[in-house]
């Protein structure tokens, strides 16, 4: 048994900051000066457009003057009518779209995660054709979504390749469950590589000796994956899944291009917003956008709370900390010793 325990341990206490007020003040001022341009850019490109969208969402579409046949010049102020309309008069369509949006977020991210992790494991192996494999896996991610929508449109057309392999003719691009399935497949194909890429980055921070330790201790491939790889890659994986969730909740171009607009089984909230904007009702389009924004915010908040995704950089990089690595090594030994302890408990 090669009990590899890291000899070097981190010095127990953090060095005390010199309690000099003056220097703290100077540092603060310097930090403020350095941050100012960044903050300014953020305000201009993020805060102001959001405020403007909120303002826009309080205005209705200009009506048509029945006498002249011309559209009025000004947009009427309607307060929250755009929002109340969404939940009342167009409620059915909205709830359907909200359901679709949530469904797609789950139904695409789950297979993407499984496939993405698999791809990352393959890419992480030192194969002879490593570069080739990586390129092959990443190609779908490099293709613009609208374009992959067109490509899958051919595959899923009534006389397309997909139907050639099936005993019956499935009308993928008409409305219904088949359309949802088509969107899920195309999206998984396109974005699993994205997950794979982030997970791969996490995998590469896991030192080889951890695996060696586990192997020596007699852990098989599956135990090594469950006991070593997954806990150590977890921070990267959680961030990757979070990114994908947020992306999937904004899904627009794939169902729009592949299936088509106004098809209730694949209509997402982004599509509703686009539909309203295309009909020149910017107020209600903005209201949909705000609601989607809040929804995504909520999901992200809950997700971060539940899984502790390290998006704020509390740990200064994606990947396991040293302490975690040590823990995993101990864990690996632990497992090898056929202990019943769950990896999570050991980790904490």
């Amino acid at each position: 048994m090669t009990a590899v325990v890291h000899g070097k341990t981190r010095s127990a206490g953090t060095p005390a900051r010199p309690p000099v007020r003056q220097s703290w003040h100077n540092e603060g001022r310097l930090a403020l000066t350095l941050l100012a341009p960044g903050v300014l850019v953020m305000v201009v490109v993020i805060v102001l457009p959001i405020l403007e969208t909120i303002r826009q969402s309080l205005f209705g579409a200009p009506g048509l003057d029945p006498a002249t046949g011309f559209v009025n010049e000004t947009e009427p102020f309607v307060a929250l009518a755009n929002y109340t309309d969404i939940f009342s008069s167009t409620g059915e369509r909205f709830w359907r779209a909200l359901g679709n949006t949530s469904f797609f977020a789950v139904a695409t991210v789950v297979p993407e995660t499984i496939i993405g992790v698999g791809m990352a494991l393959i890419m992480n192996q030192a194969l002879r054709a490593r570069a080739l494999v990586r390129v092959a896996i990443l190609i779908p991610w490099a293709i613009p979504t609208a374009l992959s929508g067109v490509l899958w449109g051919w595959i899923f057309s009534a006389n397309g390749v997909a139907n050639a392999f099936l005993p019956t003719q499935v009308l993928w691009t008409s409305d219904g469950f088949a359309a949802q399935l088509a969107v899920i497949m195309a999206d998984t194909w396109k974005t699993a590589p994205f997950l794979a890429l982030l997970v791969l980055a996490g995998l590469q921070t896991i030192p080889v000796e951890v695996y060696e330790a586990a192997r020596v201790d007699g852990a098989g491939p599956w135990r090594r994956f469950i006991g070593v790889t997954l806990p150590l890659v977890r921070p990267a994986l959680v961030v990757a899944i979070l990114f994908r969730m947020l992306d999937a909740l904004r899904m627009f171009d794939l169902p729009y291009v592949l299936i088509g607009p106004r098809k209730s089984s694949v209509e997402t909230i982004s599509m509703l917003a686009q539909d309203e904007a295309a009909a020149l009702r910017y107020g209600s389009a903005a209201a949909y956008a705000i609601i989607l924004f809040l929804y995504i915010f909520l999901i992200a908040f809950v997700f971060v709370r539940m899984f502790g995704a390290d998006v704020l950089g509390a740990r200064d990089r994606v990947g396991p900390t040293r302490a975690e690595r040590r823990a995993a090594k101990a864990n690996a030994r632990f497992i090898a010793a056929a202990s019943a302890a769950s990896p999570k408990e050991t980790l904490r």
Binding site: V44, V45, L48, P49, I50, E52, T53, R55, Q56, L64, T68, G69, F70, V71, E75, S157, A158, N159, Q169, L171, W172, T173, S174, D175, G260, P261, R262, K263, A273, D275, A277, A278, A279, L280, Y282, A285, A286, A289
Partner: protein, 435 residues
């Protein structure tokens, strides 16, 4: 006024640039509410037009103009070939009040919307010389009795049919009614060479093509989408008769199930592959179906007829496609723009576009030109279709109207809703939209 904050990526800086840009270019002679505006300034202008299929016919015409007008040069701005993208480009141009496009080629269904928003200028009708145009095409440039464009091209649907199969079944004439069409189909299917062929298809996916097909069948059955006063009339026995025809053809399998996914291209491919006996399609399919390079299985085996009706004395009523030349309210040098629109849409140029690219003209006489008839044998049929055509509604909120029609019609055709219920919903929605 800062509007359109929806696109959350737009920075204030960019918006400010656009705003100052349009303040400088605010039109001097924007039209009043009554009568056509004055067209005064002269100078260089632009023409924004989607690619005319079959080469650079548009550029040739622009070059001809530029040769004689040294101080009023026209620059061609080619828009996307796809109608969705084209529409978006023109919308953005109007909403930013940009003077990038002076003369624009606009779809017939967009005229009302652009006119109602005062994005395009009302034109002096008597000055345009529209007497030689097919009357239905002048209707497509009219909003509330005022003319907003020069009809450049048109299009109408025809019934493409397989002459070889009808002949083999002993049928010499194209069907004039849907009953005859069904009978012919049954006869052809009984033949060994007709086994497995589908009877009929149009465009039934949920997009503008569906509005065209449904609008046609309702008009053909003697109904209408809107009455003379612009009130919706789709919850009527005639409309029911029309929509029921399509729904029952779907149910009987006369229209193949996959046709619910058909747009123009998918249907064209099916017809060219020999999978359809009858096909409702625009004029552009004729040339590609006649191609002898192997891309078409039906070259020399098909012909066109007017759309079928419900009785022998009243044929089908097509809708109209086509482009119209309009003048942007935000463009400069509108006197030049008006002259150029008249020139570009003149009979001479339409002849060039027809001869070079098969663009259906709005000038009536060109349909009887022997030279053209030789090249495009479908012209008499097309003319007949145009003469009996009923344009789609000219309403300012056409987007909403067509969406309401598509929602209900698609539900009826795909069988998720009955015809009566679908038309009732459609009527209710249209009434809400056209109060």
């Amino acid at each position: 006024m800062l509007k359109r904050g929806l696109s959350a990526v737009a920075t204030l800086g960019v918006a400010a640039l656009i705003l100052t840009g349009c303040a400088a270019s605010a039109p001097a002679a924007s039209g009043g509410d009554s009568g056509a505006p004055a067209f005064t300034d002269r100078g260089p202008i632009t023409l924004a037009i989607g690619k005319i299929s079959g080469g650079n016919a548009a550029q040739t015409a622009v070059d001809a103009w530029n040769k004689d007008h040294a101080d009023e040069q026209v620059t061609l701005v080619e828009l996307s070939a796809k109608s969705d993208a084209q529409r978006q480009q023109l919308f953005q141009n109007a909403q930013t009040k940009s003077d990038a496009y002076t003369v624009m080629a606009l779809d017939g269904t967009l005229i009302a919307q652009f006119a109602a928003n005062r994005w395009i200028e009302q034109l002096p009708k008597d000055d345009l010389g529209l007497d030689d145009r097919l009357p239905a095409t002048v209707k497509t440039v009219t909003y509330r009795d005022n003319v907003y464009g020069v009809p450049l091209s048109t299009d109408a649907a025809m019934l493409y049919y397989r002459t070889d199969l009808l002949k083999a079944a002993g049928i010499t004439e194209a069907p004039k009614t849907f009953a005859e069409l069904s009978a012919a189909c049954t006869a052809v299917k009984a033949l060994p060479e007709g086994a497995g062929i589908s009877c009929y298809a149009g465009q039934f996916d949920k997009y503008e093509g569906l509005t065209c097909n449904v609008s046609e069948i309702i008009n053909t059955a003697g109904g209408s989408l809107l009455d003379d006063k612009g009130r919706p009339t789709v919850d009527t026995p005639e409309a029911r008769k029309g929509l029921t025809q399509l729904v029952s053809m779907f149910k009987d399998g006369e229209i193949p199930a996959e046709a619910i996914t058909y747009n123009e291209e998918a249907g064209r491919q099916a017809f060219l592959a020999g999978k359809l006996l009858f096909h409702r399609q625009w004029a552009y399919q004729y040339v590609s179906a006649s191609a002898s390079d192997g891309s078409s299985q039906v070259a020399g085996k098909f012909a066109v007829a007017p759309l079928p009706g419900f009785s022998a004395d009243k044929g089908g009523a097509s809708v109209l496609g086509g482009k119209n030349l309009v003048i942007s309210a935000f463009g400069k040098n509108k006197a030049t723009a008006l002259d150029f629109a008249k020139f570009f849409g003149s009979a001479e140029n339409q002849e060039v576009f027809l001869a070079g690219a098969g663009v259906a003209p709005t000038v009536a006489a060109l349909y009887d030109d022997p030279k053209m008839l030789e090249k495009y044998p479908y012209l008499p049929t097309l003319k007949q279709s145009i003469l009996t055509a009923v344009p789609r509604p000219a309403v300012a909120n056409y987007d909403d109207v067509t969406a309401a029609i598509q929602d209900s019609a698609y539900a009826a055709l795909s069988g998720t809703e009955g015809v009566d219920a679908a038309l009732k919903t459609m009527q209710g929605k249209l009434e809400g939209l056209l109060k």
